[in-house]
């Protein structure tokens, strides 16, 4: 699909993350007639975040489907359409509303290919705006990615900037495996440049977002911006932080983290999800096993506390921020 997209005019455009995804969806739909978009309010409204804005107008109601209000039905029927040869891209309106579809995702989407001995493929992408920081009510600020990364059969990715948004959504759609696509909703409006003509890096590869020598900070989605800000602040204090944008959570690109940690000897992981059994746990276990002798300190994890996502007036304290990242960096040096 990336080949086809490269037919697009060779230009560098300014875009937000949200619009980057919209552009990517549009490119994928133009390149492949079997690509469908489905979900709640994705049609005329263009989704509550306007990510599917204009798609129904241009591709019609048969390819951009406003579904009944039933997430299990959305994923279950998407599986059926995939069996018929389509490539559905499902939008889940908010992170907290993916759970009614959890059974279809875990018992059917993730396992049907295996069940079939490889005779069936389910090229389905599930788009999930995730994370907090938008002052919303309950269920609108959650980070459920680990629930999916613990599920064999699924792939899990998250973008952190407009260029990745544009390319990763197309790569996810091009994948013949099901892909959970987590979008950093509070960063939807952050701007950046998108070059629609370059050949993008592979979907399942982490990226060194900022080079450093003293300590490695691994983050994804909304926490990449936070980590880069922390690195900037630390630089002023003479601490050199290497920031890794994981981009892919399943499969996890351990090699890139390992290389960095063998250099820095210290690792801090950052995510909004509850720390207990969050991505940081797997990264810590795996990297420690690989880098046992080069580690100066244990992997320290910055993440959500062990409570349900709190009322929005608590967000500022609840969410990991620049200071929490730097605090962990300091504690790492204390070892």
């Amino acid at each position: 699909m990336t080949e086809t997209s490269s037919e697009a005019p060779t230009t560098v455009v300014q875009s937000t993350i949200a619009k980057g995804i919209t552009m990517g969806l549009r490119a994928a739909m133009e390149a492949e007639p079997k690509v469908l978009v489905m979900g709640e309010d994705v049609g005329k409204l263009g989704g509550v975040f306007r990510v599917t804005d204009g798609l129904q107008k241009d591709f019609g109601e048969d390819r951009v489907i406003d579904t009944p209000l039933a997430e299990s039905g959305i994923i279950g029927t998407a599986i059926g359409m995939a069996l018929r040869g389509y490539r559905p891209v499902c939008e889940i309106q908010f992170d907290g509303f993916i759970f009614p579809a959890y059974d279809q995702i875990v018992t059917q989407l993730a396992k049907m290919g295996y069940r079939s001995g490889g005779s069936v493929k389910l090229p389905i992408v599930i788009r999930v705006p995730f994370g907090g920081g938008i002052g919303a009510v309950e269920h609108h600020s959650e980070s459920p990615e680990a629930y999916f990364a613990h599920t064999p059969g699924l792939r899990v990715v998250s973008c952190s900037n407009p260029a990745d948004a544009y390319w990763m959504i197309q790569q996810a759609i091009a994948s013949d495996d099901p892909v959970m696509f987590f979008e950093p909703k509070r960063r939807y409006w952050e701007k950046g440049q998108v070059d629609t003509s370059v050949t993008p890096m592979p979907l399942h590869q982490a990226r060194v977002a900022r080079e450093g020598t003293d300590v490695t900070v691994a983050a994804y989605g909304p926490m990449v911006t936070t980590s880069l800000a922390a690195a900037q602040a630390a630089a002023d204090d003479g601490i050199s932080i290497e920031v890794i944008d994981l981009r892919t959570l399943s499969p996890l690109d351990v090699d890139t983290i390992e290389a960095s940690v063998n250099k820095t000897g210290r690792l801090v992981t950052v995510h909004e999800a509850t720390t207990f059994l969050g991505m940081g746990a797997e990264i810590a276990a795996r990297v420690t096993e690989r880098c046992f002798y080069s580690m100066e300190a244990p992997v320290l994890r910055v993440g959500g506390f062990h409570i349900p996502y709190p009322a929005s007036r608590h967000e500022e304290e609840y969410l990991p921020d620049l200071d929490r990242v730097l605090d962990a960096v300091d504690r790492s040096f204390a070892f």
Partner: protein, 383 residues
């Protein structure tokens, strides 16, 4: 597939022949063999009371919308247009009944004597609801569409096990009423609630406010037949009532709750109404619905028709209406004051109530955060 909005526009205007109505949009009383008797006992004072309810909840709702615009609330979910559906059904409940609302039942809360200010915490972001549902038998707002219909059914099964159904003791027999929307009717949970309620003959009334829209989706996207008919598929009665007619809604809900309390099982009530405003203050309906539709529904306003009826029959005079306006202003002031005085929670509070019994990790994180947070005290505001 045909353009849904067009197809929708027409069929959403009138509830069809099965619509139960006792008060026309013009304020004329209609006789209904089955339902008129259920409102005969209502005195002029009762009707004035309902008028007062309608006006006050609309006013409180408008004030909350204003507070959101002024940044005092993160979001508000307006009930504009659905006042009669909520007051009529809420007034039909008894003290021992238990109510499971969605996130829009501010009018029902009013009938359960819940101070409107109580409802603001969730939308202001100072808590996730936070009230004690047992105080007024008014449950916490539920945001995950449809979930509460199962809780309601289970609660009703609990009432059965307490022997509080069909005893004939008016103060003992209890019922549950579960509110949900037209969009929610598509959720598996709601249909499983219908299965459990019918199989166990549970004392629960499923009250669906069909306000014609689920955010941007017309209810043709959720069903191709009138929603009240869903009950036929599960073997219990379904009724479509004019949700903008407070009398009809009161009558139909009274009958359904009585059936439940008497041990006759569940009923589905579809209150045919309209969401006059945006889905929430974050929504922009101009993207998906035509203004003409809203205009037509303005003619069915629930308050105007009751006012016309009361005035015509001489059951209320201008002084009364003025008095209610004054009360409404006072309530609005109370709501505003209560909202503005709502303190930001102390950071430490977020660690409370995740568990009732000791949970070491939470205590550990709570203690860590306390000292971490304190370490910024010196540096002033930003933390």
């Amino acid at each position: 597939m045909t353009d849904t909005a067009v197809g929708a526009g027409r069929s959403r205007l009138d509830g069809g022949p099965d619509l139960v109505q006792l008060l026309t949009p013009e304020g004329e009383r209609l006789e209904h063999p089955e339902y008129s008797p259920l409102v005969e006992h209502l005195t002029a004072q009762d009707l004035r009371g309902m008028y007062r309810d309608l006006v006050l909840v609309r006013r409180a709702d408008a004030e909350a919308t204003a507070l959101q615009r002024q940044g005092e609330l993160g979001i508000w979910v307006s009930l504009l247009g659905q006042e009669a559906a909520q007051i009529g059904s809420g007034r039909a409940t008894r003290q021992q009944d238990y109510v499971f609302p969605t996130y829009r039942e501010h009018g029902v809360a009013w009938t359960r004597d819940v101070d409107p200010v109580t409802l603001l915490g969730l939308y202001r972001g100072v808590n996730q609801g936070g009230w004690d549902p047992t105080k007024n038998n008014f449950h916490l707002y539920t945001i995950v569409i449809g979930s509460q219909t199962l809780h309601a059914t289970g609660y009703a099964m609990g009432i059965q096990r307490d022997g509080a159904v069909g005893t004939g003791d008016a103060d003992r027999d209890a019922a549950v009423i579960a509110y949900f929307g037209d969009g929610a009717s598509a959720q598996g949970d709601v249909n499983e609630a219908f299965v459990f309620a019918s199989v166990f003959n549970a004392p629960v009334v499923f009250f669906c406010q069909n306000n014609q829209w689920a955010i941007s989706e017309p209810n043709e996207r959720q069903t191709r037949i009138p929603l009240y008919q869903r009950a036929r598929g599960f073997g219990f009665p379904g009724v479509r009532v004019d949700g903008n007619d407070v009398l009809a809604t009161y009558a139909v809900t009274t009958q359904a709750l009585d059936r439940a309390r008497n041990g006759e099982g569940p009923t589905l009530v579809e209150a045919f109404t309209y969401r006059m405003g945006a889905h929430t203050t974050s929504d922009d309906p101009t993207r998906y619905r035509i203004e003409a539709e809203v205009e037509e529904w303005k003619l069915k306003d629930p308050i105007a028709r009751l006012k016309a009826y009361l005035a015509r029959g001489g059951d209320a005079d201008q002084d009364f209406f003025d008095q209610i306006e004054k009360e409404a202003d006072e309530l609005a002031a109370h709501v505003r004051k209560g909202c503005l005085e709502m303190p930001n929670p102390h950071p430490d509070e977020m660690f409370q109530h995740a568990y009732r019994e000791p949970y070491p990790l939470v205590d550990e994180e709570r203690a860590w955060f306390a000292q971490y947070h304190a370490s910024f005290e010196g540096e002033g505001a930003e933390k």
